[in-house]
Amino acid sequence: MSVMKTTRDVKGVGLSIPRPDGPDKVTGRVQYVADITPRGLLHAKLLRSPHAHARIKRIDLSKARALPGVRAVLSAADIPELKRKAPTRAHAILAIDRVVFAGQPVAAVAADELAIAEEACDLIEVEYEVLPASVDPLKSMQPGAPPVADVGTEADTSEALAHSAVAMAKGETPTKAVNVSQTSTVKRGDVAKGFAESDVIIENTYRVPMVHQGYLEPHAVLAEWDRSGNLTLWASTQGSFNTRSEVADVLGIEDNRIKVIPVECGGGFGGKIRALCEPITAILARATARPVRYVMTRREELEAGMPAPQVIIRLKTGAKKDGTLMALDAETILETGAFSGTVLAVSAVFLGSLYRWPAFEIKGSEVLTHKPSVAAYRAPAAPQSIFAIDSQMDAMARALKLDPVEFRARHLSNPGEPMVNNQPWASMGASEVLKVAGEHRVWTERAKWKEGAAKGTLRGVGISLGGWLGGLQPTGATVKLNPDGTLAVLTGQVDIAGTNIALAQIAASAYGIDIDKVKITTGDTDVAPVTGLSAGSKTIYTVGVAVMQAAQAARKQTFEIAASELEASVDDLELVDGKVVVRGVPNKGVTLQSIGKKGNLYMSKVEPVLGASHPAFSQQAPAFAAQIARIEIDPDTGEVTLKDFVIVQDVGKAINPLAVEGQMQGGAVQSLGIALTEGLIYDDLGRLTNPSLLDYRKLTAADLPNLETVIVEVPAPAGPFGARGVGEPPIIPAPAAIANAVADATGHRLTHLPLTPERIALALAGNGGAR
């Protein structure tokens, strides 16, 4: 995509400009859904199942309905839209006669006050017949395991398509293992021969538990119907058009009947893509003819949100003594919870495509269990898959006594080479990222740093490389010239990561005007162009192109108007300081203000300037990050202290370096959380044992050092100004970087996350506590 030259250096792309909503965010003025209180507001509460798997024998709502202040109490029988064989979690608004995970909604209440709604829930009588539950995915995939889905329910692969545009043939689902909802197999070459000719073969099974996205603002929605049957949803969502379509589908009404207003989203990270509590809130609002607000509690989030899947990966790899890779045999199990919806294909692509394996076979299964169904979490399946393959590469390098960075660099796939699904790798900067990381002093000075360990302390340094293919989704934007010569950008894209300031910078540079003259608005679904999710590291990559093209179109229109006024050729014009002038004749010109004004004058024949673009995309821009960790381990307690952490990332072009650094650091801490502390822990009956932020341990400021960021820029051919997606890569490498550092410090290869003090201490004890 060609970048239109601007006539001088405007303040736009490449500058670290703080986001314009900063002052409102630091003063508490920004409103989230829970802060919006219309007149007549009712509060919603859901009664949830305490059992992972049970038959509902009887529900009695009468006492709850009789409580003063209660406006509606609903069970499945009251909701005509409800269907059996719900294809998605959103369709399963309330359990019909069987609950399939602990925390599944069984009844819904709307009341004048939240305390009344809570009391009403206590008054609902539900009689359950508890059934055996499938809790462990390895047991759940066996024939004869307690079934999760109703027979005939379709697998849901929409998440994979939305996120990374990875297409892969579906495998055949075994008929007897009722809880295996998707399978896939990819293979190339002769794997058995590859292992037969290998000098070193390493086999490990990696396990990463379910983790929660951890956004600070719980799911929240406010719903209100008008008397004509139109629904307005104030939603905390990563994609207002997706929310609209999902809710319309569940309710069986047209998209046009629903207006989704994307309210400031207090974090999503993939967890606020799919509809969750929107349909039931809309139904309560319809039943009461009042505005109804539902805000999930943190306990509900942890027990019944949409976490990342548990991922179990068995890897067997073989290599020659000289380091030549020979074969990869992999088996992946993604635990999807009670509803299908994992990104099975993404996992296979990362396991088999990052390095060149002459022979590979990768089998994948998506397995249903009686747990909350999963959703995306920033680079879905990538941190888990990269944890496995990068740990394995590190173990191979150690076994072969080869330099870990050189070993990876030697086998890294190049652009144009086939991925496991035979799609060629697009232009990418993986090797540049690895090179920069390998030359960083935290890596090169590792031997010296380890020598400085205090007596009784173990030190280790680990490195890891991971990446993301980059999502694609059609989008749109308009850019208009205001009567005062300022520029207004409109998209429907939810700004969850500081993307609006970067999009405004793109508009400024593409049009040729300073950023302080550009305003950007995220419109609701009634007014904004249709657009995709704010997910998959694709907002800047795709919406940035739409904004750039719309700004270029607006510039062209502006120049055509000026050319006619100045009786000059468009090719002879340039834009300088808000004035279109004939090149070389700076005093002969027409201001943007006058062009804007003429487009809005009564009886004017000058058309208003309105640039529009609505592109679709086919070329992905993979983006890679490498991370380096220096750790100290207390051998008595097994506790890891992170001493230094470096993030090296290819961002194509840093449109706003300040925002880019924020993404790199924030993603890295989520990655470190997966590595060190996080995991949803279930008992044998499928009940969550750590449903609070005290027990579900996220990293705090006191757990961390300052995180160093190193930006690498390998331009993406189709990206706006060369930009690539930035959000996902930093959450990918840390689990392997930490595990590799632990191996470096202790000699133990730990393969189950999180790397808790207990796991490390046990590993050390197994080795007599010695190094």
Partner: protein, 162 residues
């Protein structure tokens, strides 16, 4: 349950509201005083998003009953800085690009303000422990620590935190 009168001082103003005895200070501030800056991220005192100052000390307002604030002084994020001027901490947070989703920010700022009142020139470690009760999922804390460090320096030059 019958409501009771809660008279207290909020951000320098005398406030009287009627609250039921089970209401938390957080809900009283948000729903009755209409100050929605303090956020509920967990309701169990684990995330810090609801941090306000009660008689100058930081508290998780979701763990304090509203009536416990009777006759006392509460300061929320809306009372940090003035209606026209940002507090040095707020200003530093904006310039350092700290806020992303922004949901944790009011609580972090109140924790940081309390820290600086106790330790006007904190070390990085003191800053990190000072905001360790505040979870943030977007920023990775690095820019937050730098902003607090810089604000501390500016306040030392320019005088008191208030």
């Amino acid at each position: 349950m019958p409501k009771q009168i809660l008279s207290f001082n909020v951000n320098g103003d005398k406030v009287d509201v009627l609250v039921p005895p089970y209401l938390t200070l957080l809900d009283a501030l948000r729903d009755e005083v209409e100050l929605t800056g303090p956020k509920e991220g967990c309701g169990t005192g684990d995330c810090g998003a609801c941090t306000v100052h009660l008689d100058g000390k930081p508290v998780a307002s979701c763990l304090v009953l509203a009536l416990q604030a009777r006759g006392r002084s509460v300061r929320t994020i809306e009372g940090l800085g003035t209606s026209t001027t940002l507090h040095p901490l707020q200003d530093a947070f904006v310039r350092h690009g700290v806020p992303q989703c922004g949901f944790c920010i009011p609580g972090v700022l109140m924790a940081a303000a309390a820290l600086l009142e106790e330790h006007p020139a904190p070390s990085q470690e003191q800053i990190r422990y000072g905001i360790a009760g505040n979870l943030c999922r977007c920023t990775g804390y690095t820019k937050m620590v730098a902003a607090i460090e810089e604000a501390a320096g500016m306040m030392k030059q320019g005088g008191s935190a208030r």
